[in-house]
């Protein structure tokens, strides 16, 4: 596939510090994002790989507007995103959607599959009832869930199907960038492969850009074009995925490796994906 | 110690808040003691307004509150209109009797509930559990009001124990022993109601805390080591269940105080209950505020004691505190 040349997302000097403790207590400053910069071209997948606690999820939250960065700038297709004081994403940010880790908690257990997929349409656009239903149903089929099960509740689906539902819900508003936060965690190897295939297919048809967050380097290097290594709130290196193996072999400091374990089995399983 | 100091400051703050709350409610009061006095033709208007000024009722609320705080600090807790005396000694004389009731009922209830609760958790679904559960359910659905009336009826019918009051009207014998015997006889009915009233809640909590404790892996391990079952129940599991139970002990005083209020009125026990009721009917507001504050103080003390016990019993809080 041909990679895009324009920048979909350009993150410049993002900083975020969390403060622990109330005003009468001793405070702890915890710098989660430290002058972080990241570039994402259109039709591209960038994988952000790092140890747990290095700020990956905070980065995702900042990108979609659920957290407000202290400093820095996010350019979406060349336009800067304004951050509002409230914890509410701006309309521009609806172009970026997030798929959460552990899909079980990402779907309301009281809503049926079709209701879940319709929700963004209800909130984000002005659609008639019928139109909403049609869009949601077609999206459900796109991600490979049969319409027979549209009235089922999330706990009646398998883990992989739930992840498909989450993808359908994120895509129904037609975003251009999708952030995948540890979406492979807790899934079987074969299911991981199916989901990865689905994502690649969707990227092909819809022209999406992905930011894929994971701690499993081997897995994401199968679907990512570029790999960004993240450490203590910074992107320490962004490179083409072909160079990762070399980098790991030759990098002098051993500390990257502890967080990024290439799993032999995973590498083998996805050679076809 | 940080844990205890924090708790102490918190309770002081709570009491201040309670007093402020009652004073803001006081502000809403439509009538007052003096309004009713004004209706009496024998008292002149001038006297009423002089009295009103004397008691500081003509001043704004905040000023009155500050005055009250000063008097509380002096140990007076304001002036009672009806008795024309400082509130504190008035309340204290009655509060002692309330404390006697609840102070007896609280340990008694625990002494009865603890072995039954522990054993019914240990012997789940056996006869002791079922029996305990049945008794607890029956007591749970019987309001204390009914229990008190029933006991009173029994006392009046059978004359087994005195019906109401704190002492016999005609003292039969002199001497400390006779007095104590008389007091114990009078204590029987109200304490029984209080104990029976608090039993069901205690039983349920003890049982569920123990069931949780018995399911922890280390209790299972202890059983596999061959430690005698009763020893496991009463030493290991009870100790493990002690944290929720200690906080329950503080809280159980709250319901006990409430019930005691009612029982005292029904059984003519000269405690806070009748005093508070009279004060409400006579609009003697400072007595009401004083009694309510005192009940808050009791509860704060009870939670403080249970906190200290918790601190002693739970090594985790201690180490957290040192860190």
């Amino acid at each position: 596939m041909e990679l895009g040349t324009t920048l979909a997302l350009d993150v410049r000097g993002l900083c975020k510090t969390f403060t622990q403790g109330q005003w009468w207590q001793k405070r702890f400053q915890h710098r989660v994002l430290d002058n972080l910069s990241l570039k994402l071209r259109t039709h591209t997948t960038v994988a952000i790989v790092g140890k747990s606690g290095c700020g990956k999820t905070t980065l995702a939250m900042c990108l979609v507007g659920l957290e407000r960065p202290d400093a820095g700038e996010i350019l979406l297709y060349g336009e800067s995103i304004q951050f509002t004081q409230r914890r509410r994403p701006t309309t521009a940010q609806q172009d970026i959607q997030l798929i959460f880790q552990e899909s079980g908690g990402a779907l309301n257990p009281r809503m049926s599959a079709i209701q879940i997929i319709e929700e963004p349409l209800l909130l984000g656009g002005h659609y008639a009832r019928k139109e909403r239903r049609d869009l949601a149903e077609s999206m459900m089929q796109r991600v490979g869930i049969s319409l027979h099960s549209k009235h089922r509740l999330p706990h009646e689906f398998s883990g992989g199907q739930r992840q498909r539902l989450a993808i359908a819900r994120a895509l129904v508003l037609k975003p251009r960038i999708l952030i995948l936060d540890e979406i492979f965690a807790g899934l079987d190897l074969s299911i991981q492969g199916q989901i990865a295939n689905l994502l690649l297919q969707l990227q092909e048809c819809e022209g999406l850009s992905y930011i894929c967050i994971s701690h499993n380097l081997a897995l994401v290097s199968q679907i990512a074009h570029e790999i960004a290594l993240m450490e203590q709130g910074k992107i320490v290196r962004q490179m083409s995925s072909g160079l990762v193996a070399d980098y790991l072999l030759h990098s002098s400091g051993g500390e990257h490796k502890s967080g990024l374990q290439p799993e032999a089995g995973a590498l083998g399983a996805y050679s076809g994906a | 110690m940080k844990f205890l100091v924090r708790r102490f400051l918190h309770s002081v703050f709570l009491l201040m808040g309670v007093s402020l709350l009652s004073f803001s409610l006081l502000q809403l009061t439509p009538g007052s003691f003096f309004d009713e006095m004004q209706l009496n033709p024998q008292i002149s208007r001038a006297t009423v307004s002089r009295l009103r000024a004397e008691y500081g009722m003509d001043r704004p609320m905040l000023q009155r509150y500050v005055c009250w705080l000063e008097s509380a600090a002096r140990g007076d807790w304001g002036l009672s209109f009806a008795y024309n005396a400082p509130v504190a000694p008035l309340i204290w004389a009655r509060a002692r009797n309330t404390l006697l009731l609840t102070g007896l009922a609280l340990p008694l209830a625990w002494i009865i509930a603890l072995p039954i609760g522990v054993l019914s958790a240990g012997e789940r679904y056996r006869w002791i559990d079922r029996g305990g559960n049945l008794v607890a359910s029956v007591l749970l659905v019987t309001p204390e009001l009914l229990l008190a009336l029933g006991l009173l009826w029994l006392a009046l019918r059978t004359r087994w124990f005195p019906a109401g009051g704190m002492a016999s009207v005609v003292p039969i014998k002199h001497g400390a022993a006779a007095h104590i015997k008389d007091l114990v006889q009078h204590l029987f009915a109200p304490v029984t109601v209080l104990v029976l009233g608090s039993l069901p809640v205690l039983l349920r909590h003890i049982r569920s805390a123990m069931v949780d404790a018995l399911q922890t892996p280390y209790i299972k391990a202890a059983r596999s080591h061959g430690i005698p079952y009763l020893r496991i129940l009463f030493r290991h599991a009870l100790l493990a269940a002690s944290s929720p139970l200690l906080s329950l002990a503080g809280l159980s005083l709250a319901s006990l105080l409430s019930v005691s209020l009612l029982v005292e009125v029904i059984m003519n026990w000269p405690g806070l209950g009748p005093l508070l009721l009279e004060a409400i009917l006579a609009r003697d507001v400072y007595v009401v505020v004083g009694a309510v504050m005192l009940s808050g103080l009791f509860l704060v003390c009870a939670t403080a004691v249970s906190d200290v016990l918790l601190f002693i019993a739970d090594p985790r809080i201690r180490t957290e505190d040192l860190a």
């Binding site: 959460f100 | 808040g17 009001l145 009046l156 019930v259 209020l261 009940s295």
Partner: protein, 341 residues
């Protein structure tokens, strides 16, 4: 036996308690204020299926009473009057709106039927018990609605927004929880007017009991809102542009429904008891309007307590009321389902 399953028994008992009280005008044979000064403290009427000649009749009857002085009554077995069903009697307002004079049962004029005896003024305790139940239960239900309303509102605000609203609301809730509830009830009641007509006293009782109890449900709901606002599906809905009110309505409150319903069922009997207690002590609704509490308050006189047991019936009925509400609560207790897993 489907009919005798636990659930249907529970349902039947709830219906048996509430329907006669709801339609008290229909079920009560007399008006609450109707006095029979010659018949004070009459024990419950005996219902006969035989007449003076010991012949059996299908239609039950009551015999006329004769006052033999000194509070003693005896039945005149020669003058028996059959009990009629669905007869016309004193007029009343059903639900306070519909005029009617139909009564479920009654006897002809000279005789009187007192299913639960009479009180000092010779008023029918059964009729007063039904009307009093209306007041007591309604107080419980309305006060529950009030305190749950406040509790859910403030609990959701505190839990959902966190930060300073949370701190302020929860500190105030702590004040309400810092006192034993009866003391708190008394304290609030103490500062409100004492001598009121029935309607005003009723409204006052409802608001006092309701407001005093808001803190506990508020705490519960806050805990739920606090955990559910961090759920991923709530964050996702926020990403799609859901407003705070939408998120609370659609995602946060449904998490709390089960707890709110259980709380309601637990609070109603508690608040009925609060009404009974306050009226018993003379701080609630006063005579001549009946309520279970003020009907019981005559029992504070030892002589009444010992001699006239039937006056304790309004208190004894609290036991089945409590029983059925508590059973209902345990039926409604949310079970661990796959949804929670």
């Amino acid at each position: 036996m489907r009919l005798l399953s636990k659930k249907s028994l529970l349902l039947m008992s709830l219906v048996a308690i509430h329907v006669p009280i709801l339609f008290s005008g229909l079920f009560a044979p007399y008006d609450v204020a109707e006095q029979n000064r010659d018949f004070s403290f009459v024990p419950p009427s005996r219902i006969h299926f035989t007449d003076a000649h010991r012949t059996l009749h299908l239609r039950p009857s009551v015999c006329s009473l004769e006052n033999s002085g000194f509070g003693q009554y005896h039945e005149n077995r020669d003058r028996c009057f059959p009990i009629h069903f669905l007869i016309m009697g004193s007029p009343y307002l059903l639900f306070g709106v519909f005029k009617s004079n139909l009564h479920l049962f009654g006897v002809e004029a000279p005789a009187k039927i007192f299913l639960m005896g009479t009180d000092l003024y010779g008023r029918d305790v059964f009729s007063r018990f039904l009307y009093g139940g209306q007041l007591s239960l309604l107080t419980g239900i309305l006060a529950t609605a009030l305190s749950l309303g406040f509790g859910v509102l403030f609990g959701t605000l505190a839990g959902y927004y966190g930060g300073w609203p949370d701190a302020v609301i929860m500190r105030i809730a702590e004040l309400f929880l810092a006192l034993p509830w009866l003391y708190l009830l008394f304290a609030v009641r103490a500062f409100l007017p004492l001598n009121l007509n029935a309607a005003a006293a009723f409204c006052l009782l409802v608001s006092v009991i309701g407001i005093v109890g808001w803190a506990r449900p508020a705490r519960l709901v806050r805990g739920i809102a606090l955990s559910s606002r961090e759920r991923h599906y709530v964050l996702a809905a926020r990403l799609f542009g859901g407003s705070d009110s939408y998120l609370i309505r659609r995602h946060v409150l449904p998490d709390a429904y089960a707890v709110i319903i259980t709380q309601a069922v637990l609070l109603i009997p508690q608040y009925v008891l609060a009404e009974v207690t306050l009226s018993f002590l003379g701080l609630g609704v006063g005579e001549p309007t009946p309520s279970w509490g003020n009907m019981l308050s005559t029992l504070q006189q030892y002589q009444v307590l010992v001699s006239y047991w039937w006056l304790a019936i309004p208190g004894a009925v609290l036991v089945p009321v409590f029983c059925s509400y508590l059973l209902l609560a345990s039926e409604l207790q949310p079970r661990r389902t796959a949804i929670d897993a």
